[in-house]
């Protein structure tokens, strides 16, 4: 019995059979990319693919950002005996909290209004201390970035020397994550045939990093940014009519900005579920809605297009209920 149970040797990591020694080895790169999937029904006339970032180990595109932020911090200073503090609408927080837990680092997350309870509970399950922050926390000094201001304050106030603030909105490591991984993956997955890239305005690491990489390969590739309407609800996207533009945004790599309202975003999200079988978050709906808008300009046809699907829909059930009405309830 003992011989039967005893392993002769420990199996190591083998990506080909998807066997890993550590969850962090699932972080993507050009040899182990997140998949792109063609949309065949919502816009059959377009050659449109979605890059499914929710198949990252902690559930979103922010896994890339978080790993690069922490690696950059570790290169520049010791993280020992420090506590992380970060402002996040959820996905970066989740990724940072998971990685911090693996490193034994305590973490505080300032989280803005409107983030679903599912994300806040997951953060607490990961061991993070969650400070829910109203957008108008500074009642005199808006724009609506109370969570960012609070994280900065925690890191810079008395006792702040105990904290490290990765600051995804300003850190070049955010851009680097996408320049070195997401961009090259897309280029390889499309065999260099991509003509249009679509991503949302959020921290702007993705649009800047991927945009910069793709423009270096071929300047004629169109980079389209998606901005939600003012007063939007989908977490993760930002309207710069009411929020400060992140320091890392490089508008020189962006060819067009498309504004999408909430109804359009949620309507397309529902279509993605029902017509494509994709269980996505509402920011994906906004991005696909922008990518499939009728072309009313003199802009060239989009060609092979890749849009980012940042996360899945499982964290947003409490949001979707407002857009479902009585759909799905028994008809008696």
């Amino acid at each position: 019995m003992t011989t039967f149970l005893k392993r002769q040797q420990q199996l190591g990591t083998d990506r080909h059979v998807r066997r890993y020694d550590d969850i962090r080895q699932l972080l993507p790169d050009v040899d182990q990319p997140t998949p792109i999937v063609r949309l065949n029904r919502v816009a059959p006339e377009l050659d449109l693919y979605l890059k499914l970032e929710w198949l990252n180990p902690f559930g979103s595109i922010k896994d890339r950002t978080a790993s690069y932020l922490l690696a950059g911090l570790a290169r520049r200073s010791s993280l020992q005996h420090k506590q992380l503090v970060e402002a996040s609408s959820g996905n970066t927080a989740i990724a940072l909290a998971a990685l911090a837990a693996l490193e034994g680092l305590p973490i505080t997350i300032t989280i803005p209004d409107g983030v679903p309870e599912e994300k806040r509970i997951v953060l607490r399950m990961l061991g993070a201390e969650v400070w829910e922050t109203p957008d108008d926390l500074c009642p005199v000094d808006n724009p609506r970035d109370g969570a960012i201001a609070l994280a900065r304050s925690i890191a810079q106030s008395a006792g702040g020397e105990d904290y490290i603030w990765p600051d995804q909105y300003s850190s070049p490591d955010n851009v680097k994550a996408h320049y070195e991984t997401t961009g090259p993956e897309i280029w390889r997955q499309t065999e260099g045939q991509i003509r249009t890239f679509v991503a949302g305005f959020g921290t702007c690491g993705t649009i800047t990093g991927v945009g910069r990489f793709l423009k270096e390969q071929d300047r004629s590739i169109r980079v389209v940014a998606v901005e939600p309407q003012k007063g939007h609800r989908p977490p993760g996207l930002k309207s710069f009519a009411e929020a400060k533009e992140p320091d890392i945004l490089d508008r020189s790599v962006i060819d067009e900005v498309v504004t999408v309202d909430d109804d359009l975003a949620y309507g397309m999200t529902k279509r993605l579920y029902r017509e494509e079988g994709l269980i996505v978050g509402p920011s994906t709906g906004a991005i696909v809605a922008a990518a499939t808008q009728p072309d009313t300009s003199d802009v060239p046809a989009p060609g092979l297009t890749v849009g980012i699907s940042p996360d899945s829909g499982f964290k947003y059930a409490s949001f979707f209920i407002d857009h479902l009405g009585d759909e799905g309830l028994p008809r008696i």
């Binding site: 108008d136 926390l137 500074c138 005199v140 109370g146 201001a149 304050s153």
Partner: protein
């Protein structure tokens, strides 16, 4: 006037930068019963605008303010109802 104000809770946010004083004051006020008084100490001059605005936003009463240069003192009375905004 200030010396005569009795308070039920004291919060010292010395050394904390905006918006931490506002955030912590909001948390403490949220926990107080209506009519109870919070005595708040800050060392952020911006508090002279932020705390009165917080009180208006929350529906609390600002009983008194003392600007002592390096330190600012506030006495806030929890209002009868919790308004939308800082919880």
């Amino acid at each position: 006037m200030s010396d005569a104000i009795t308070f039920d809770e004291r919060l010292d946010t010395s050394g904390l930068l905006c918006p931490l004083p506002v955030y912590k004051a909001g948390l403490v006020l949220g926990r107080l019963e209506a009519g109870k008084v919070l005595h708040l100490i800050t060392t952020d001059p911006g508090s002279l605008e932020d705390i009165p605005a917080l009180a208006r936003q929350r529906g609390d009463e600002l009983l008194d303010v003392e600007d002592r240069g390096a330190t600012q003192l506030f006495w806030l009375k929890k209002g009868p109802t919790e308004r939308d905004g800082h919880k």
